[in-house]
């Protein structure tokens, strides 16, 4: 194209004009490809090792916790520095789409984030991640993490990710001042007490149970299920031999339906923070949400939180009927097939499971370690309580947060729930849940 410049341009005749167009056409088609080739060679000829870790930890305590991990990693691994590949977006919605494209293009990171449990099954079935039992064996994770946890994240005999933190989903949050005003003497423990307390709150003129948009309603439903049928039968529902038509499920659904009558009419227009704030502001008595709400209630105002005093300005207990059951979920990291720096990635996963890494990350993130040997002194009042529960409680995996059901199944349940929220027909809902079970097992 250079030859066409300068004095020669004046003599461009018709046929040459055609050639120019032809050249332009080809360059349009060829240039993007050439661009790709260039980046590929740069990637290939990299001399120093870089650990590429993919996550959606871009804000709040998650990002701050990750930053601390990166500092430790970079100090102890001078030869292979950390490359933070985060994609913003709530609960990883955008990140998962970006990750899917990278995996499809055979350019996996060295390790990527995913909810521990069934949500990883898509990657396992697509043969995009490696089993990492050898890492568990090498670092002794099997001994230090609860047996229930290990068995619930094992898929077809193998482990595929290292859980960094544990959150609990079945927590009932309440406002002590509102409870006093409504003459509710103590936080409810049984289902009967719970309904009685909700009635008292209603009589006192506050919203008995604050609720948010559809996923939080699914979250509520999950905790009612676990409280009603218990962790063993809950786990059985997801095995392929699960009986979704039984009376326990019907009872749970009816209880869920009853609870919905105590909720605010504008639930679908509120985020989980909005719903939690109703409790904090004294406009609602109770709210059922995961323990990330503790971070929102007690965190600093500068961080967009409410800076409330635990135990005096807000209180918590297990969802009535589920004391002693830990409805858990976890962020975990995987070892992708064809990870460009596999040795470093294996080391990274070992590091993530270590006491040091977990006790560094979790106090900042507002969750507890998956390990049972955490140092309680590092944690706030709620998390201290959660740590003791984690040592003794029976475990039930979360549905809404990816532990018990793969994405496709969870989506079908979400759709059935959406229909139920409109027609409130328990029988139809239950049969839709049965159909979903048969379709996905």
């Amino acid at each position: 194209m250079v030859t066409l410049s300068g004095g020669r341009r004046a003599r461009v005749s018709r046929p040459t004009a055609a050639k120019v167009v032809l050249l332009a056409t080809f360059s349009l088609l060829v240039l993007p490809a050439a661009g790709n080739a260039r980046t590929a060679t740069i990637g290939g000829t990299q001399a120093s090792c870089q650990l590429q870790v993919f996550s959606w930890w871009t804000g709040g305590g998650e990002a701050a916790g990750l930053a601390k991990l990166i500092t430790i990693w970079n100090r102890t691994n001078k030869s292979c520095q950390f490359k933070n590949e985060t994609v913003a977006g709530g609960a990883g919605t955008n990140a998962k789409a970006v990750l899917a494209q990278r995996l499809a293009a055979n350019k996996p990171p060295d390790s990527f984030q995913g909810h521990a449990g069934s949500e990883l099954r898509d990657y396992i079935k697509a043969k995009q991640v490696e089993p990492i039992d050898f890492i568990y064996k090498k670092y002794g994770f099997t001994k230090i993490m609860p047996k229930g946890l290990i068995s619930q994240i094992t898929y077809q005999g193998h482990l595929y990710s290292v859980p960094v933190n544990i959150h609990r989903a079945n927590i009932l949050w309440y406002n002590p001042a509102v409870l006093r005003k409504a003459k509710i003497s103590k936080a409810p423990v049984t289902w009967t007490e719970f309904i009685a307390a909700l009635n008292k709150a209603k009589a006192a003129g506050v919203i008995p149970l604050a609720l948010g948009e559809q996923w939080t309603q699914q979250h509520l439903m999950e905790t009612v299920f676990i409280s009603t049928i218990g962790p063993t039968r809950w786990a059985a529902l997801w095995t392929g031999k699960g009986d979704w038509s039984n009376k326990g499920v019907t009872l749970a659904l009816n209880r869920f339906k009853t609870l919905l009558t105590y909720t605010n009419s504008d639930a679908a227009s509120l985020t989980w923070q909005d719903a939690g704030k109703l409790v904090a502001d004294g406009k609602a008595a109770f709210n059922i949400m995961g323990d990330w709400q503790d971070g929102y209630f007690s965190g600093t105002k500068a961080g967009g939180n409410l800076a409330l005093k635990p135990k005096t300005q807000y209180g918590w207990t297990a969802v009535p009927g589920s004391n002693g059951v830990y409805d858990w979920l976890s962020d975990s990291f995987t070892l992708p097939k064809k990870a460009p720096h596999r040795a470093a990635a294996v080391k990274w996963l070992g590091f993530l499971g270590s006491k040091k890494a977990q006790d560094t990350f979790n106090p900042v993130k507002g969750s507890i370690p998956a390990r049972q040997d955490a140092n309680p002194k590092l944690y706030g009042p709620y998390l201290k309580w959660a740590l003791t529960q984690w040592r003794t409680d029976r475990l039930a995996g979360s549905l809404t947060h990816g532990v018990v059901a793969p994405n496709a199944w969870a989506t079908d349940i979400g759709t059935a729930l959406g229909l139920f929220l409109q027609n409130k027909d328990v029988a139809k809902f239950q049969s839709a849940l049965e159909t979903a079970h048969d379709k996905h097992t």
Partner: protein
């Protein structure tokens, strides 16, 4: 050979866009159709022929019929609302207002705001919270002693999707006004004068002379609004999020592909949306080509 020299360069000039459109528009439409007829229904890509299985699934899916109902409610309110508001604004401006240019820009501005940004504001304006927690329009109603007008907006049982159409009407009625204004200006003054000479009242002048001239404009507006409505996604997500209560086909498609990884079913929705838009566009294209030929 001489012939080639005549049309060759021209063809070469447009060939990049022909190639690009062939690959990136029609090629991808074809690929989408192929996926919708395949058995690719999980994270693992497969491409075996499954016929209309995904379409049959959609047909049996209660959520899908809910989506279609939502879309119908949204579309009817949106199109009628935007046409009526647009026509009224154009009519008022056409009757001669001082500072026409100013008002024209004011009415057009909302179109420059993206649906996602408008949605954030309208989510607040149409806040369905009751009593002392209410914000936005419901508060305005109460302040005006018209509390009976306060309502659940997009969460309403029957009229929810009509409320959802209000931001879309707000965004596009200015554009429809511009179309109609051009239509009004296209009616020759002589025709109106002739009618007045014949003793027609002002209303009859509009009824029998001006409005018939606006028919092509109305048709074009209908097509433009219709295809926007069928594809609506960002406005719904900004206001209602991923919830069945406000879900439309484009949102369901996104959920099926990115959450459920049911690629065939998602692609089937994409194909049906394209079909819906073609039903609108193709007759319009035929009509335009015919009337242009007639004019020539």
């Amino acid at each position: 050979m001489r012939n080639v020299r005549r049309w060759g360069p021209g063809l070469l000039l447009v060939s990049p866009s022909i190639v690009l459109i062939a690959v990136f528009v029609y090629g991808l439409i074809g690929w989408n159709l192929k996926v919708s007829l395949s058995d690719w229904r999980s994270a693992v890509p497969t491409s075996n022929w499954a016929g209309l299985a995904a379409y049959r699934d959609l047909n049996a899916d209660l959520a899908w019929s809910e989506n279609v109902h939502h879309l119908l409610g949204f579309t009817v309110t949106f199109i009628l609302g935007a046409l009526l508001v647009g026509l009224t604004l154009a009519f008022l401006l056409e009757k001669g207002v001082r500072g026409e240019g100013f008002f024209r820009s004011i009415y057009l501005f909302p179109m420059a705001v993206s649906f996602i940004a408008a949605g954030v504001v309208w989510r607040w304006l149409m806040n369905p919270a009751p009593g002392d927690r209410s914000t936005g329009l419901n508060v305005v109603f109460e302040k005006l002693h018209a509390g009976f007008l306060a309502n659940q907006w997009y969460l309403g049982q029957n009229w929810g999707m009509s409320a959802m159409a209000i931001p879309a009407i707000w965004a596009l009625s200015g554009y429809i006004m511009a179309l109609y204004l051009a239509g009004f200006r296209g009616v020759p003054e002589e025709l109106r004068e002739a009618a007045r000479m014949d003793g027609a009242s002002e209303w009859r002048v509009y009824r029998h002379v001006v409005f018939p001239h606006l028919r092509p404009v109305t048709l074009a507006a209908l097509i433009i609004l219709g295809h926007i409505s069928i594809k609506v996604f960002d406005l719904i997500v900004a206001i209602g999020g991923k919830q069945l209560v406000t879900q439309v086909p484009a949102v369901y498609m996104w959920i099926l592909i990115y959450d459920a990884q049911d690629y065939a079913k998602g692609a089937a929705i994409a194909s049906l949306l394209l079909l819906g838009i073609s039903v609108l566009i193709i007759p319009y294209l035929v009509y335009t080509v015919r009337s242009e030929r007639r004019a020539a």
